[in-house]
Amino acid sequence: MASNPLQLLAELLQSGRANPAISLKRLASSSFYDLQYRMFVIAATFEIHSKQFGLQQRRIGAARLKLLQFVACRPWLMPIVRNWSEAEHDPQTLLHSSQRLRRGFIADSMHDDVVDLLVARNILVRLGTGTHLASGANVDLLAKLHLAGVEQELFSAERRILQELLDVRVTSNMLEGW
């Protein structure tokens, strides 16, 4: 009998004269690389976490947006963010809780690409040196996207995490890279 499991399986199926059933249906692809999904998460993050800026605009720190949307897409990271936030004054715990997450969200280049697109469409505008993102002339699109998600009860896990993140203190230290 073969030691390689695939070889063993092939031998069993071959000798058993099994009929192949190959489905060309692709495995469900990850939604993380779906532009509309990522736009929705950014929309929800902006709607929930942005602050009033001037008379008619809202704004959010670019790094804050990046971290919050990263966690919203990965609800299982929520306890780590809580620990990280609570361990701000305990360097040892801080390092353990933050190391992987920090590297992860900073490397999320697809988020940067989606933000570039939103800026190009004048949905968001960069402020100053790009440290903040504010609502642009076409920001309505984000509000509508978010509203549609709420009304149709879509992406409830992401929206729930974003609500929970309102209670987590995200400090400037947490938003810094290595």
Partner: protein, 331 residues
Amino acid sequence: MPISIIQEYAATLSGLTGTDFQAEVCARLQSVILGFQTIPAKPHGDAGLDGFSHNGKHGYCCYGLEYDSSKTNKDRERAIVDKFRGDLRRLFELSSNGSKLVCIESPEMATILPDGQRLEHIELVVNWFESHRVLNPIGTAVASYKTKSKCRYVHPSAVVVVVGPKDLANRYAVDEITIVRARQRAFIQRVQQVAEVLTINDPRDFETKMAALQEIRPDQLRAIQSLGEQFRANWRMALAFEQELHDTLPNMHRALEEGRRRILTQVSQLMLASNEPWTKLMQAGTIAEEILRPDFGKLYGSLVQDVSSGEIARLIGECPVGWEKARVADG
């Protein structure tokens, strides 16, 4: 408070356990101490010593304590003291007979250190050094061993120090290569740990296929059962690898997604184009490895084979590749 590369290295070191910790410490010391010599533990044992330098005058013992959330600091202190006392007794050629210390001979030590050389400085490198309470028991044990031992391999005036991750990270410059190596080791260890405990969300399709296989070959029930376990283990490994990439290296996760798409296309094409599709299934693992290795081979070489097998198990488990019993009319 930006975190320095030294702090990151210390944190990564303290996250490594077991032989991964030992391997990283040895790699680190080898890169900074000219003449650092590692000591392979197999096949004859390492006699309690994991490495030496300075022509046999400096010795190094490592302990990558396994973290366990149920363990208290006291448990950890005890584990560290017990481990290092054990290593030191072997270096001093002593064995504990109840509360008594008895001299023994360590034939392997003679084959490790240069002739006539004795250790004058011993470093006990550990991945958890958050309590000074390990120092007294170890220091006291060393003093006692010196009086009881014939000191053939350890000088009577030898100095023994405990070194933690922070000490090791601070002692020599940390460069990019060091950080990448440590991250890589931590990544691999984490994937392996997660794979052991990960639960496959919905294995029903997979179980149905295994049941169909048992129906096709009722004479091979045990082999099919073991095959199923092997596939499940491989599948978990692929899922753990994906999850870790997803959380820590999103860009590489994207490369994995792309690789998966290509694996599915190539395996399906090969099987559909063949009159004997099952013979082509054997090539699926090789195809997966050939596709994944260029992107992941350099960083995670040791995982690529398992992950490749896991990707094929996933294709079977998540639907594209399946089988059914031949109908009577099929012959």
